[in-house]
Amino acid sequence: MKRVFRHTLKGVVVFGLSVLLVLSAGQASKAAGPKEIKIGNILPLSGPSASVGLQNKQAVELATEKINAAGGIKSLGGAKLVNVFTDSKGDPNVGVTAAEQLINTEKVVLISGAWNSAVTYPSTQVAERYQVPYVVPVSVADKITERGFKYTFRIAAKDSWWTDYQFKFLEEQKKLTGTKIETMAFVYENGDWGTGMAKQWHERAKKFGYKVVLDEAYPSTASDLTPVVMKIKTKKPDVILLTSNAADAILLTNTMATMKVKAKAIIGTGGGHADPAFRKNTGKNCEYMFDVVEWETDLGRPQIPALNAEFKKRYGYDLAGESVDAFASVYVIADALERAKSTDPKKIRDALAATKLCVGQGKLGIDILSYDCIEFDKTGQNKHAGIVLVQFRDVKGTMERVTVFPTKVARPGFKAVFPMP
């Protein structure tokens, strides 16, 4: 009896194995003409940056869906893009393991990610070693594309470009309005971020010939910022550049209004000034102040309203600068695959390096950008990536962030009020 049973078992196993074999052979024959192209995505899907990681994932999924629905990669027989998402938890170690796994186990042809600069930095190194292209939609740390890597391509602007745009804007306004701007005050929170920005401001002020009359670091947790505001008032700078967290941005703005501090322009650097709480809690006091940001929903690009509505309907919130970069990145990847006509990572890399995608070529992901083209320089940095300036304006009774610079993407019907009244 026992023997019979064992015999049957053997038979079942053999049968099962052969079925599997046949099935996998079928799979193999299917894979011969690539119907699916696997893209690895490393994102923080849990941990402190999970909410932004999720927004990035959603943007990637929406863009992939659109590209696949439009016929996939035509030069590869209409192959569909398939995303493999791995969670980095925002942890560099996990990110490195994820990159290894995506390349060795999942056999992805390309990696995209990883939002946190601290994760992108080491995981791009893994991809470089395996010679697999790595597209970086958003991580902003300058050094990511400054290591001479051949396989890393970044779409977003570098950190240091933010201060660049603040000065570009001033130069343009000086010419446009004939306003005289000679002196500047730098007022910033005394942490890493604020002091880093101030260092860049000093370099640029020197380059453009502005006189720095005040360089003031203050503690973000201050209970009173009147002394700082007094100092600004005494020095009477033409322009005030700020780097603040939310609470101090509110306190500073309200105190400046109380102490009647006037300047030709007050420009923030995102962070606290971009927080919705800032507008809510300063009200009229923030009117005509400026802030820099990578993207706004009100940009003068005709495709944005429909896409934003679709995104909002599906996920419940507006597109943000980072989700737009992630959305565009899928179009960049698809375009590179199209031109590479191959899933060989080396050929994809060469195609990526030759990318030149511009607004108006019928590619939705590109048409919603705040700047005109995506083109990588030899370090892999998108050299056209841009920042926009918004001005806080009273639009029919509510304080809104209105894009005013660069002029060609300004919200239709608006231009910067400069100098501030």
Binding site: S223, T226, P227, I250, G283
Partner: protein, 296 residues
């Protein structure tokens, strides 16, 4: 640096210092009477601010009219806190010279209150627009922000009332007696725990007053107490533990240092000056400016 600016800086320093002093007043009172460092003082401030915030937000009252509701509410809150939470620990530690467990209890209260606020209201910063927000009063070329000016007046009135209460009322005398020697006071028929409840209630009520003073120009959030906590401790120790004039003068000194020195050096460094002055005072007068050399 001209004279005008220094004078304006002095004005700002005194105005700011007045609400620092007011915030420290409750802490010093509680310490003077119960001999307990109340680590939940910042949280009491936060509760005071949130109470004032919601009253002004929901009813649209003048923030100073809200005092009529906030002060009794916070008094009851402090009274209950002492009566239900701290008293049992004090009794258990009756024979201990320094009731350290009470400090741990107040620390617990701090965490619980801050996190309750976080749960109920979220971490966001809230500012309420009041009829005095952003208003100023000009005297010649000098600017007096109205909310701070009213804060100064309220601080003066509160301190005056408190001193009067402690000096001339029966309960005030009992509080002073208990603060001098709790055992002797008990022997004279004073219910020391009732005195403690009332002292704690008054301390909390003052935190409520600070809340009403602050909301026209400061934002409320669950950990706002931490911003003022360290300052209050410095002021109380600088002025002398348990001393009412000490708290007020200490507050003015900190306010003036922050305001005047910031005109000459980066404001990040004024904190350094504050601590140097603090250490210097402790070195020369270990009991603080107005403190008495007394064995607690």
């Amino acid at each position: 640096m001209d004279f005008d600016i220094i004078l304006q800086a002095i004005i700002n320093g005194l105005l700011t210092g007045s609400y620092y002093g007011l915030a420290a007043l409750g802490l010093t009172l509680i310490f003077g009477v119960i001999k307990v460092i109340n680590f939940a003082h910042g949280s009491l401030l936060m509760v005071g601010m949130f109470t004032a915030y919601w009253i002004v937000k929901l009813t649209g009252w003048n923030p100073y009219a809200a005092l009529l509701v906030v002060v009794p509410l916070l008094f009851l809150f402090g009274y209950g806190l002492q009566g239900f939470l701290i008293k049992p620990v004090l009794i258990a530690q009756r024979d201990v010279r320094e009731p350290t467990e009470v400090i741990i209890v107040t620390t617990g209260v701090w965490y619980i209150l801050d996190n309750l606020a976080l749960m109920l209201f979220g971490a966001e910063y809230r500012v309420v627009q009041t009829s005095v927000s952003g208003q100023i009063f000009m005297l010649g070329d000098y600017i007096f922000p109205k909310p701070q000016l009213y804060g100064f007046i309220i601080t003066a009135a509160t301190s005056f009332l408190l001193v009067w209460f402690l000096k001339y009322t029966k309960m005030g005398k009992a509080i002073r007696a208990a603060s001098l020697d709790r055992d002797a006071a008990s022997l004279m028929g004073i219910n020391q725990y009732r005195v403690y409840n009332i002292a704690f209630g008054i301390g909390a009520a003052i935190a409520g007053i600070v809340g009403c003073v602050l909301i026209p120009f400061y934002y409320v959030f669950p950990t706002v107490g931490v911003v003022f906590d360290v300052k209050c401790f410095i002021i109380v120790v600088l002025g002398g533990l348990g001393s009412i004039p000490g708290a007020l003068v200490g507050g003015a000194i900190i306010g003036l240092i922050e305001s005047i020195f910031a005109q000459f050096i980066a404001s990040t460094w004024t904190e350094l000056i504050v601590y140097v002055v603090f250490l210097a005072v402790l070195f020369i007068r270990p009991a603080g400016l107005f403190g008495e050399k007394r064995d607690w």
